[in-house]
């Protein structure tokens, strides 16, 4: 379902880290477009640069060179304030280790994000979408890993973000639980029209996507388009 204007446009972005005495070239000139409403899976082994790319797209990190923008937002020239506003208004993050606030209940974790968004989803609605209506008043320590990740997704979508960036969302989960999490992501993409980018080293997840971007060594190795998006129930690992 590509639109005429890409939501994200990256041209020749590079990223060099200094790790002590060594320079690490995480991105060596990546060009990529992501369109509104797309479900993109970025595949690659660890060290391929996929996480760095996601961080740049999410405004957590600035590239060393190249051009990258989200609509009218310039993401290549970091301005702390502008990046914060960008994340606040447009981006939802989902992490491998959930990163929930342990002292807040599921509902409150979601409300935390909803509070700072201009047009949020009520926390209860967001939790209902991820199937956790019955666990809203539980603390993270009382939830399973899959439940915690679903709370994290609910927290991400409560802001009604334009884009959901997921870093190994199933990395810490078993297959069955992981599938339930992917179902939620798929559903968010289809029902809310949210652009979803998932990075993973798990190739079987690629079948869910509209488009699969394979990375290796800081470069995009190959881009493929799935003729048909598989449903999460169909995939296995």
């Amino acid at each position: 379902m590509p639109a005429t204007m890409p939501a994200f446009e990256a041209v020749g972005i590079t990223k060099v880290y200094r790790m002590g005495e060594v320079e690490v070239h995480a991105l060596r000139g990546v060009s990529l477009k992501i369109w509104d409403g797309e479900f993109v899976v970025i595949l690659g082994p660890s060290g391929s640069g996929k996480s760095t790319l996601l961080n740049v797209l999410g405004g957590l990190d600035a590239p060393s060179g190249g051009v990258v923008r989200y609509r009218e937002h310039d993401l290549a020239h970091p301005d702390e304030r502008a990046l914060t506003a960008y994340r606040r208004e447009h981006v939802g993050f989902v992490f491998q280790f959930y990163n929930l606030v342990p002292s807040l209940t599921a509902r409150e974790n979601v409300a935390l994000a909803a509070e700072i968004a201009p047009r949020p989803l009520p926390a209860e609605d967001a939790l209902a979408r991820v199937g956790l209506s019955h666990r809203m008043d539980h603390f993270p320590s009382q939830l399973s890993g899959g439940e915690q990740q679903r709370v994290a997704i609910a927290r991400a979508i409560a802001k009604r973000p334009d884009v959901l960036l997921c870093d190994e969302p199933t990395g810490a989960l078993d297959a069955a639980t992981g599938r339930s999490v992917l179902e939620v992501l798929d559903q968010v993409n289809r029902e809310l029209g949210t652009t979803v980018a998932v990075i993973t080293h798990n190739a079987s997840i690629a079948d869910l996507a509209d488009r699969v971007v394979r990375m290796a060594d800081g470069l995009i190795a190959r881009e493929t388009r799935n003729e048909r998006r598989a449903s999460p129930a169909e995939i296995s690992w």
Partner: protein, 787 residues
């Protein structure tokens, strides 16, 4: 083990900020301990040494006049080792360059060699040459205040005649370590001093040839003073004896001894408070370290390191900080003690302060700190040892939270999620939160004590000079005279008012309890010099009966309505039972006051006055001074303003040092508590705060959440500090209360508000500073790895 030591070194470097806060607090605690213990020991040692080397007597007695022959009978009293007779007199002085008349206690030096008791130490010049009638040694404080040096000339009214004297030396004796007018309490070095002269020439001028009017006794080793006092009273009563007394009633001895006792209190209380806060912070830091390093601990155990090695590793971390703090503190303590001793040396006139940097004191302070630290970190160390390797290597399960009672009663709804985060973090570690609040409270309390010392001292000065002694000048006669003498004073130029007073040295007795003092007689309706209660204000002295200071009543265990046996020590030495008719809460001295007429009647005297309080026209002061100097019956002229200035100078000197130090400590405590709290909050919640930043919270919003817990601790700590401060103030007032003066235990709202402001500002500065740390938060790496 070498590698573990290296790990220790690197960890210390990584947490250097927190480490330094702890080192600073331990250093302050040890420094206060070392400086006050060293000073206290120095003063004690100096006092003991001076008393021994310069033969400070054990028993003293003053009398009207006794033949020298009586001396052998005194020396023969059982328990007496040495007895020495002397001649003393209160005299008026004329000092060049000093417009007002000064006065002095004139004391005799034997002509046949050094005094056998209460020997002079000469600071400058020499002692008086035997038989030289015009030579004098001047007490050090008086000489310093007036710039007198050997070779200078002063004159004195001795036996009613002016006599020119040459200053040949500056010095002092154990009896005059602290110089204060007999019966007085507040000193004025500019206008009152002590002079030593040849006994022969003094006796000639005072009509005391072959006689004495004062005697001092040193006791045989181990002999009690009571039988000697009784023996002296028996021997001297026919000669106008005013009652013998022991060291505990010798003014200088009492003041210095009180001060040494107060130093002991200071040496224990202040360091304990600071050390408590320091070891609390230490235990927090170490607990945190053990919690974050559980994986490392598990790995070390898997490698084969024993529990002992691991326990020692973490205990060593605490020890390094404490030993560093104690070392810095000991050095600073010796240095501060040296300075503090110098302050005391200025204030008291010891020939030399025997200050020593005793290693044992520092060692004691260090051991105290180490013991406290080990006790504080024992929990964390035990936890590190108790971890099973397999369990330790698994990541820690998410901390368990539950709704706090505030939410259970339904108030949680009023708070946003960020507010609830703060609330639940407090609820999860209530003890830690409470101790932090206590730390903040201790800081507030310390500042309050500092402010109280200032407030109370000025209140005392104000009370004494603004309400009690409102006269411009107090004139003391050489002996009690008829009221005609007062009329004469009233007729002098510049005198606007004159109120006669009578003082009669007496012993007050109730059952077994006795107290020696001078009963003061005031006229009804006196306006210049009054009896004033701190709370009730002016107290009228009834026509009969005694009004006592509450302190004195407690001493004697009497209440209004009881009677006290009054034994006069002068004149006919009458005794009478007098009812106590009132008590006053006063601040300076211990008073027994009567109506002057009633006092004269009870003493068996006619209408006598010992002197008068004068209200003076400031324009005619100089002329009045000239007249007063020419009146032979005047023994002393006390200028209220000069005394007040002198007391204020002394207070400013000592208070500045004390209050700055206490305020510095409290700021340090507040900064230490808040800094560590902020560091810890960041370390423990780095991941949480980074998540919030990623979600889109601004740096400011995240900062507010991170310091929320600290704000609550400071807010809770402040009122706690008021309570603690109030308690500390009461304790300080009680610990410093003596017969000589009592600081009113008053905490004003301004005091509490000021102390709170100091601590809150210090805390706010650190909290603002902590915002920088959030800027350095690496969002990507924090979120990547599971701790």
């Amino acid at each position: 083990m070498r590698t573990l030591s290296r790990k220790l070194g690197r960890e210390l470097f990584r947490m250097r900020g927190q480490g330094m806060a702890i080192v600073a607090l331990v250093a302050c605690a040890v420094a206060t301990f070392v400086s006050s213990v060293s000073t206290w020991r120095a003063l004690q040692r100096t006092q003991d040494a001076l008393y021994e080397s310069h033969r400070f007597p054990h028993v003293f007695a003053e009398l009207k006049r006794a033949p020298e022959a009586l001396a052998t009978r005194i020396a023969a009293l059982p328990g007496v080792s040495v007895a020495e007779t002397r001649v003393m007199s209160e005299v008026l002085l004329d000092v060049p360059g000093l417009p007002e008349p000064a006065s002095a206690l004139l004391r005799s030096v034997p002509d046949d060699g050094e005094p056998r008791l209460d020997r002079l130490h000469i600071r400058e010049g020499r002692s008086v040459a035997p038989g030289k009638a015009d030579e004098a040694v001047v007490s050090e404080s008086f000489a310093r205040a007036n710039g007198l040096r050997p070779g200078d000339r002063i004159s004195a009214v001795i036996g009613g005649r002016w006599k020119a004297l040459q200053v040949v030396g500056v010095g002092g004796t154990p009896e005059q370590v602290f110089t204060v007018r007999a019966g007085g309490i507040l000193n004025d070095d500019l206008h009152y001093g002590v002079l030593w002269m040849s006994r022969q020439s003094m006796a000639a001028a005072l009509d005391l040839a072959g006689a004495f009017n004062s005697v001092a006794v040193r006791l045989a080793p181990g002999a009690p003073d009571a039988p000697v006092i009784a023996g002296l009273d028996r021997l001297l009563s026919p000669y106008g004896g005013r009652g013998a007394y022991g060291r505990e009633l010798q003014t200088s001895h009492r003041l210095v001894t009180d001060e040494i006792a107060q130093m002991r209190v200071m040496a224990t209380t202040v360091p304990v408070v600071i050390l408590g806060v320091a070891v609390f912070l230490l235990s927090l830091v170490l607990s945190r370290l053990v919690a974050t390093q559980r994986m490392q601990i598990g790995t070390l155990k898997a490698l084969g390191y024993g529990n002992g090695a691991i326990g020692r590793h973490y205990a060593a971390l605490a020890l390094v900080l404490v030993v560093a703090g104690a070392t810095v503190g000991a050095a600073a303590g010796y240095w501060m003690g040296d300075g503090l001793s110098a302050v005391y040396a200025r204030y008291y006139r010891f020939p030399v302060i025997l200050y020593e940097a005793e290693p044992a004191v520092a060692l004691g302070g260090g051991l105290l700190a180490v013991a406290a630290a080990l006790a504080a970190v024992s929990g964390a160390v035990r936890r590190s040892v108790r971890l099973a390797p397999a369990e330790a290597m698994r990541p820690e399960p998410p901390p368990t939270y539950r709704p706090t009672w505030v939410e259970r009663i339904g108030l949680g709804r009023l708070l946003p999620p960020t507010g609830r985060m703060v609330l639940r973090d407090l609820g999860r570690r209530p003890l830690r939160a409470a101790l932090s609040a206590v730390g903040i409270g201790a800081a507030v309390a310390c500042t309050m004590v500092a402010a109280f010392m200032g407030d109370a001292s000025w209140t005392l000065v104000d009370q004494e000079f603004g309400k009690v002694a409102r006269e411009d000048v107090a004139v003391h006669f050489t002996q009690a005279l008829t009221t005609g003498a007062v009329r004469e004073l009233r007729a002098l130029p510049g005198v606007l008012e004159a109120e006669a007073f009578r003082t009669a040295p007496a012993t007050l007795e109730s059952g077994q309890r006795t107290y020696r003092t001078a009963v003061l007689g005031l006229d009804p309706g006196a306006r210049l010099h009054r009896v004033v209660d701190v709370l009730r204000g002016n107290v009228e002295v009834p026509r009969s009966g005694l009004v006592l200071s509450r302190t004195l009543a407690e001493r004697l265990q009497v209440r209004p309505g009881d009677t006290v046996r009054l034994e006069f020590m002068e004149g006919a030495r009458r005794a009478a039972d007098v009812p106590v008719v009132g008590l006053v809460d006063d601040l300076v001295g211990v008073q027994a006051v009567m109506d002057r007429e009633a006092l004269n009647r009870t003493a068996g005297d006619g209408p006598l006055a010992s002197g008068a309080f004068l209200g003076v026209d400031p324009a005619s002061t100089d002329e009045l001074n000239l007249h007063l100097r020419r009146m032979p019956k005047v023994a002393a002229v006390v200028l209220a303003d000069a005394t007040r200035r002198s007391v204020e100078r002394m207070l400013e000197d000592s208070l500045l040092w004390f209050t700055s130090l206490l305020t510095f400590f409290s700021i340090l405590i507040a900064v230490g508590v808040v800094y560590n709290g902020a560091r810890l909050a960041l370390a423990e919640r780095e991941r949480e705060l980074a998540t919030l930043r990623v979600i889109g919270f601004t740096q400011g919003e995240v900062w507010r959440i991170s310091i929320g817990e600290l704000c609550v601790q400071v807010l809770a700590g402040a009122p706690l500090g008021w309570l603690l401060g109030w308690g500390f103030v009461e304790l300080t007032a009680a610990a410093t209360a003596s017969d000589l003066m009592r600081l009113p235990a008053v905490v004003t709202p301004a005091n509490a508000a000021g102390a709170t402001a100091v601590v809150v500002l210090a805390a706010a500065a650190v909290a603002l500073w902590s915002r920088r740390w959030l800027g350095r938060l690496d969002l990507v790496s924090v979120l990547k790895a599971k701790e």
